[in-house]
Amino acid sequence: MFAVFKKEIKSYLLSPIGYIFIGLFLIMFSTFFFLTIFQSQVLNFEYLFYNGATILTFITPVLTMRMFSEERKNGTEQLVMTSPRSITSVVLGKFLAAAVMILITEAFTLMYFFILKYFGEPSLTVALSTLFGFFLLSLAYISFGMFASSLTENQIIACVLTIGVFIVMWFLPGFNENLAMFSLIQMFDKFPTGVISISEIITFVSFAVLFILLTIVVLQRRKSVK
């Protein structure tokens, strides 16, 4: 797992992908920061992450769409799948590498916290609970993005599928209130209020585990049908 993780991190940081992801996120986040602070006159670090979750919905595929699609298209999938490494370790290696990219991005967002701290007194515990919730949401998003990438060799299809499903899940509560349990963004909304809810944590983690398992199943199954 560590070999794949190391190689993936290298690929993110040696190619523009990692920088595009972090850059895009921070540019959009800064825009929202500016709008919130100067136009809405609200001095609140955690509220920024409501917008952060929206940004994440659209830019997660930058990290995930290439995960398996690119390997399949270039044929490097054969190198990985004919090696003694298990499919599980390959999938986990890739997943963790993307998770680390999210952590790096989150670390950058702390600068807004310190800017706000200079002018006011933002709550550190609420900020940490928000960052924790945001990380869990990211794990859920990455797992689905990775699953979409394992389905096709076309990165664009993987990207559109990922964003499409995220948007549908986002607006599900609009159709029926009972469907709110499938809206990840709505579940995340509790964390910026300083509430760390076990049910939300379990939902995010099980969502991530489910799609990691489904990715493994898809790759395993491709051995017999490809």
Binding site: T82, P84, S224
Partner: protein, 374 residues
């Protein structure tokens, strides 16, 4: 080293590979020959564990790949078709990653990577990004990735495709050098390449194995006639008379008349006779000067074309019938096995009964003996 037993790969109704069987011994260099889509890559992919066969088993070094894929994969170095590489990595990083994927121990990794780089002549480009290399070097990098960690078996899918002639020769020499330490399987369209490198050839056509032999034997076996090309100075046009003098000549054709007036004839005879001496002596008798005389060697190419052309084209109906016959045969075998098992059980029961009876009788006898003693 590698045993492929009754292996079939089916996609719906389409058979990519149908019931193939072969064995490869340790240290052999074996070539897979076949037209595009014949099933070469499918077979190789199944041996490497990249895809699973629909039926049959593949045993590598005594291990069934279906049961212990990890162990088998450790024994194999694979160079896939089309030279897939990670273009954002340097040559050394790529080979390092391959070593990591192959579970090479940390202590041995550095030496293994350096050895692979040295064996494939990549020292000068080891810090270059793989995307900036020429096709020949990319091929070498892919080969280095396959040989890192010194696996017992090397599987090379079209290793020389897309290279210029000089690069082809270099890669061929490299593959030949692997002969000492590895069992090598390679696939190719280039028949001359296979006949130069390989000790054994497996010809696959439409998913079935049609021939397994050495290149020399394949060439000989498919040779039905022998052709001799003679360039003679025959001013009196007497050359055709030698046909009556030498009985084994089947046909003589005039190929061309050269600018100096000499003529080139092609003489066809049976495969087993050599009439070169007779031609020479008859020509001397007839006063014909022989300028050149050479036997045309038949090539692996001729053998391949002959073997593949001779194969019948199966229609959909015929394939369906073959499948039906196979299934019926399997059912019959199953029935026979069931019957056998039943009979065996019956027999066992009978024997058990008989044994019980015998033991009872023994006990009775013992009792009666004891009673008698009292």
């Amino acid at each position: 080293m590698i045993e492929v037993k009754n292996v079939t790969k089916r996609y719906g109704k389409f058979y990519a590979v149908r019931n193939i069987n072969f064995e490869i011994k340790e240290g052999e260099i074996v070539g897979f020959l076949g037209r595009n889509g014949a099933g070469k890559s499918t077979t190789m992919n199944m041996i490497t564990g990249f895809i699973e066969p629909t039926e049959g088993e593949i045993i590598v070094d005594g291990i069934d790949i279906d049961r212990k894929p990890k162990k088998v994969k450790k024994l194999i170095g694979y160079m896939p078709e089309g030279v897939p590489l990670y273009y954002d990595l340097t040559v050394k990083e790529f080979i390092n990653y391959m070593a990591d994927l192959k579970l090479i121990k940390h202590k041995e990794k550095k030496a293994a990577v350096e050895k692979a780089i040295a064996e494939t002549g990549l020292e000068k480009v080891q810090n270059k990004l793989t995307k900036n290399l020429s096709r020949g070097f990319k091929q070498r990098v892919s080969l280095a990735g396959a040989i890192v960690g010194n696996p017992k078996i090397l599987i090379l899918d079209e290793p020389t495709v897309g290279l210029d002639p000089k690069q082809v020769i270099e890669i061929r020499e490299l593959i030949k050098s692997f002969r000492k330490n590895h069992t090598v399987i390679l696939s190719s369209h280039i028949l001359s390449e296979v006949s130069q490198i390989c000790e054994k050839v497996i010809i696959i056509d439409k998913g079935e194995i049609v021939a397994i032999d050495t290149p020399e034997n394949l060439e000989k076996d498919t040779e039905e006639t022998q052709k001799i090309e003679v360039n003679v100075e025959d001013t009196n046009n007497k050359f055709l008379d030698i046909k009556t003098a030498i009985n084994s000549i089947k046909d003589i054709k005039l190929l061309e008349t050269k600018t100096d007036g000499s003529k080139v004839y092609e003489i066809e005879t049976g495969a087993e006779v050599d009439i070169r001496k007779d031609i020479f002596s008859e020509c001397t008798k007839l006063g014909i000067a022989v300028l050149e005389l050479k036997k045309q060697e038949s090539s692996l190419e001729d053998a391949f074309i002959k073997i593949v052309q001779d194969r019948p084209e199966y229609s959909e109906k015929e394939i369906a019938k073959m499948q039906y016959d196979k299934e019926i045969e399997e059912l019959r075998q199953e029935e026979a096995e069931k019957k056998e098992r039943k009979e065996f059980k019956k027999q066992a029961k009978k024997e058990e009964k008989a044994r019980k009876k015998a033991s009872k009788a023994e006990k009775k006898d013992l009792k009666s003996e004891k009673g008698g003693d009292k």
